[in-house]
């Protein structure tokens, strides 16, 4: 651990995470407002993709390489959620 590590970690915590929060808020606006149900599903899908970015920023900011695994799992779960909602939207009459 040296100054470079510390600088990048502080950059992740104090610059990247607030910027990612802007994207989360924009997506939440669509999730709440969305006129149709598939709009909300798309917003939920994008929310989980931003969650991958947040987890990776935390992995760098807290210096934990294990968190990359969690990002991978979240990616898989978001795909499963999207496919499940797709079936649900189409079959519902």
């Amino acid at each position: 651990m040296n100054d470079y590590h510390e600088g990048l970690q502080l950059f992740m915590i104090y610059v990247i995470l607030p910027l990612l929060t802007i994207g989360v808020l924009l997506t939440l606006w669509r999730l709440v407002r969305g006129p149709t149900f598939p709009d909300r599903v798309v917003a939920l899908d994008k929310l989980s993709v931003i969650a991958i970015g947040i987890i990776l920023a935390y992995a760098i900011g807290l210096n934990r390489p294990v968190y990359v695994d969690i990002a991978l799992i979240v990616a898989m779960l978001s795909f499963l959620t999207t496919v499940g909602f797709g079936y649900y939207i189409e079959r519902r009459v």
Binding site: M12, T36, V49, G53, L56, A59
Partner: protein, 151 residues
């Protein structure tokens, strides 16, 4: 060397947040479900890939992290178009309206509600609607079956 890697990592993370914010703005401002889906499925995927690459550059001395990052990028690039296509197809079949300023809707009347499948032309759909036992005329039948998606 380390300064270069970490600078690249910070730059990639900034690019990824830029793409996330751009896709959020697209999600809010676009007038139509299908345009919103194009904003999320393209920009957000690229943002996630940039974030993964930033993680790989930060943990450069840990090779297993690089392998996981490679798998993650491959997985996201493979599954994001599939999910977006699935949501778009299902919502069109359910009847979500396209934007009123849209010039053309080429899929209009091509969805068969009884079989949950899309046909290549509206005429073929009308023949199946009147006579459900027959699968259309001979020249149109192979195109229709190739367009048919798995239920």
């Amino acid at each position: 060397m380390e300064l270069l890697l970490f600078g690249l990592s910070a730059l990639l993370m900034l690019i990824s947040t830029f793409f996330f914010i751009v896709s959020g703005i697209g999600l809010v401002r676009m007038p139509d479900l299908y345009m919103r889906m194009s904003a999320t499925s393209k920009a957000a995927t690229l943002g996630a890939a940039c974030a993964f690459l930033a993680g790989a550059l930060y943990f450069y001395d840990n090779l297993s992290v690089a392998l996981r990052v490679f798998a993650g990028i491959l997985f996201i690039f493979a599954t994001a178009p599939i999910g977006a296509h699935m949501i778009g197809r299902a919502s069109y079949a359910r009847g979500v309206a396209v934007w009123e300023g849209a010039v053309i809707d080429e899929m209009e009347g091509c969805y068969d509600r009884s079989t949950h499948s899309f046909h290549s032309s509206p005429q073929h759909n009308q023949t199946t609607a009147t006579t459900p036992d027959e699968t259309g005329t001979a020249p149109q039948a192979p195109a229709a079956t190739s367009q048919q998606a798995a239920p």
